[in-house]
Symmetry: C2
Subunit: 227 residues, 2 copies
């Protein structure tokens, strides 16, 4: 479902240019569960943003569901982003003036769902991440781990076929982390494709394949065989 | 150096009140190295903000360096915050329009240090967290783990006697995490008091005492004896 070839991403600042992705090639099939690991600054979030159609590559090819992403107009990309991909951001990106409930419901507005149904689905997802009692809190009235869980709930409301989660358990204690990993596991069992960035080996071990990035290139890709 | 007694913190929202800290009592001596752990939402950041003089308790007593914090005027608190306490925020709180270098140098402006010396110290701290080559990047041009390291460097520039670090390795890979923990360890050896919130047991194991919070109360406090 995801085919990437020779992907390059550079940034140009005043005094120097930064070569972040230096030729990435990878294929991810529908229903796969992949963990993406690598040192801080190695390009994981940059790669995730390109996969999530939030950013474009400098050069190289990205085919998503047999469509060449670099040839698609913004309106089609916006539709893909809201309906087919659920993104959990490393720094949450919640809207500060909306409550947890309204933040979670936001993607449903883009999908054209009416208010009563949006509220029902958003409440269901908040309950799934154990935050039913924080529905009316704004982001500055939530703990770090609670904000992270609101970001996770928001990514799930459209039941997207592809879930991209950038360090979704970075701010969670072990028990809450475990609960979130169970959610991803059951989504994968229902057929969703999951790509998860993590720096924790025991979180990565829940995936079926681990791809390791280093200095903007793929260092290794290994399947995990569980009993 | 830190004496807390019967500390209570409540928030009042429109529809309900939230009792976050329900009577915290603890004593931390100068030069101690304490890890603070507990579930997401248990009150760790709230307690850290009160210890760091960034927030006030609803009731209870907080004595810092033999001064009762609730009786001090804001000007004295501001001076304590900038000179005696270095705070690494869970969500970094970097200023988006300043470069990494200027973000790190900011506390030195409050301390009245001249520009040449500020730049020298800020560069030294950025090099300490391995980000010398990212000095001119703004926060949106940094990775999550790089932003976290800029926040750590900023907390160290005034060589504060007390370092409060809220999940400082949450976005870091194992190797970078290890380097940051070595920095805290050597600071503690030089006499700095360190309070570190973490949800990772192997990070907590580097401290000399682990305090566990649950539902706004201290559940346990245990000394760690290393060989
Ligand atoms: N301004 C506020 N108004 C209302 N409730 C708040 C406010 N700030 C925090 N809270 C609530 O206080 C509780 C404790 O928050 P705190 O940030 O201290 O938790 P934490 O232990 O740091 O959690 P985490 O590990 O997720 O970072 C949470 O349940 C949160 O929803
Ligand atoms: N807008 C930008 N301009 C310049 N450089 C950038 C920009 N965004 C990111 N970078 C650089 O690109 C590199 C990769 O960033 P990225 O966020 O992808 O890393 P990462 O692997 O997700 O790291 P982390 O584990 O710390 O989150 C970093 O070295 C960063 O400084
Ligand atoms: Mg990242
Ligand atoms: Mg916190």
């Amino acid at each position: 479902v995801i085919k990437i070839n020779g992907l390059i991403k550079d940034y140009y600042l005043d005094k120097h240019s930064v070569h972040v992705l230096k030729g990435i090639g990878l294929t991810i099939h529908s229903g796969e569960y992949v963990a993406l690991m690598g040192p801080s600054g190695s390009g994981k979030s940059t790669l995730m943003n390109i996969i999530g159609c939030l950013d474009s590559a400098t050069s190289g090819e990205y085919i998503l569901n047999q469509q060449n992403i670099s040839t698609l107009p913004e309106s089609v990309l916006a539709s893909i982003r809201s309906k087919e991909i659920g993104f959990v951001f490393q720094q949450f990106n919640l809207l500060p003036r909306l409550t947890a409930l309204d933040n979670v419901a936001l993607p449903l507005i883009y999908a054209g769902v009416d208010k009563k149904e949006r509220t029902r689905i958003a409440k269901e997802k908040l309950a799934l991440v154990e935050l039913a009692d924080r529905a009316d809190h704004k982001p500055n009235e939530l703990s770090g781990g609670q904000s992270q869980r609101v970001a996770i709930a928001r990514a799930l409301v459209n039941n997207p076929s592809i879930i991209l989660a950038d360090e979704p358990t970075g701010n969670l204690d072990t028990k809450t982390s475990y609960e979130i990993m169970n959610i991803f596991e059951s989504l994968n069992k229902s057929g969703n494709t999951i790509i998860l960035v993590t720096h924790e080996e025991d979180v990565a071990a829940k995936a079926k394949r681990i791809i390791r990035l280093r200095d903007g290139v793929i260092e290794s890709s290994e399947d995990i065989h569980k009993r």
